[in-house]
Amino acid sequence: MKYLSLLTAFLLLAATAAAERPVVNLPPAMRHRNWTGPGGPTDGSCVFASIVYLLDWQGQHRLAEYVRTHYSGGEDYANLAAKLNHAGIRFAYTTGAKDVKFLEWAVKTHRGCGVAVQNRAHMICLVDLDSRSAILWDNNVPGKYYTVTRAAFLKDWLSSGSWAVSPVYTPSAPIK
């Protein structure tokens, strides 16, 4: 009986330990902190910092470098789309449609996405999402991830205009 319980516990542990979390996990040394825009110290570049993280994760290092060195300051979805088009970056986005499926697609395909939060004052990266929690990367604290409940994250995102954007290239390979 003891052995059976141990075996069951081991199997459950093995099954949960298999997959890497978060599914989008750029090495810390490659993550760029949010940078100041033309408007001074209070003018961040969180949208571009998020895009750079995702481009690097999807193997587009030259495009990431282009975005990092050419763009800064606050951004809305229309201007961002124009800039991504101009840079020749393949991307997908949703805004105002409360399209949670877009977020689930971004995580299921291991691409991740930038998400507007804090009443649209900030953009961060959604790097994992399941039925209970969301794992987020904030370009203001680039060294670590933080986890919130799925409900809390969705509430924040939906009240921020449900804007999400992701480059569409090949996601990085699993680590094992």
Binding site: M1, L4, S5, L7, T8, L11, L12, A15, A18, A19, E20, N25, P27, P28, A29, M30, G59, H61, A81, L84, N85, H86, G88, I89, R90, F91, A92, Y93, F102, W105, K108, T109, H110, V168, T170, P171, S172, A173, P174, I175, K176
Partner: protein
Amino acid sequence: MLRILLATMLLACASSLYAGTQERVVNLPQDGDKLFVTVFGDTADCARITGWFNAVPELKAVKSRTHFNVYPTTGNMYQQRYAKSIKRLPTVKVQTADSDKLFQLSGPSLTTGEALAKHLNTGCIRRWGNCCPQQEAAPEPEPEVAVDDGDMVEPIEDKPSDLLLVGIVLVGMLAGSVVAFKDKVKSLVK
């Protein structure tokens, strides 16, 4: 009339130019279940092996149906993310999105593209047909799987499927509950 024609032509030109610069993806690729094929090695090895994936028909087909990544040892991604898990270079690895390693071939075993295609065909594709470029083809003869340089090839053992795993867990839990219930009944009777 001429003005209208000219205006129409201008409009058509402008809209086609605009469409040409649109990079937005509307139909999201549903490729979350695709396998990952990854090449690790120095710059020369990466170029050589990538060349096979562009030239050998079987490998071309594999490449087109999977997420194909190349990580040279000089790159940040290799150094920061993969170096610890790669024991021998160059390496070609096939994985599921959930990190399950299905196939790996390393070092001097990576001789030619044709040999790699053969190893892939026997070591990986027959078991996990979804990366197979020629699933309908006649099965490969058995002996090719056992490779002489076995220490170089790192075949992955057959793993229990998720369903089997769930089954084992459920049976374990059920058996545990039955035994516990019996014990309880026994103790009650006593």
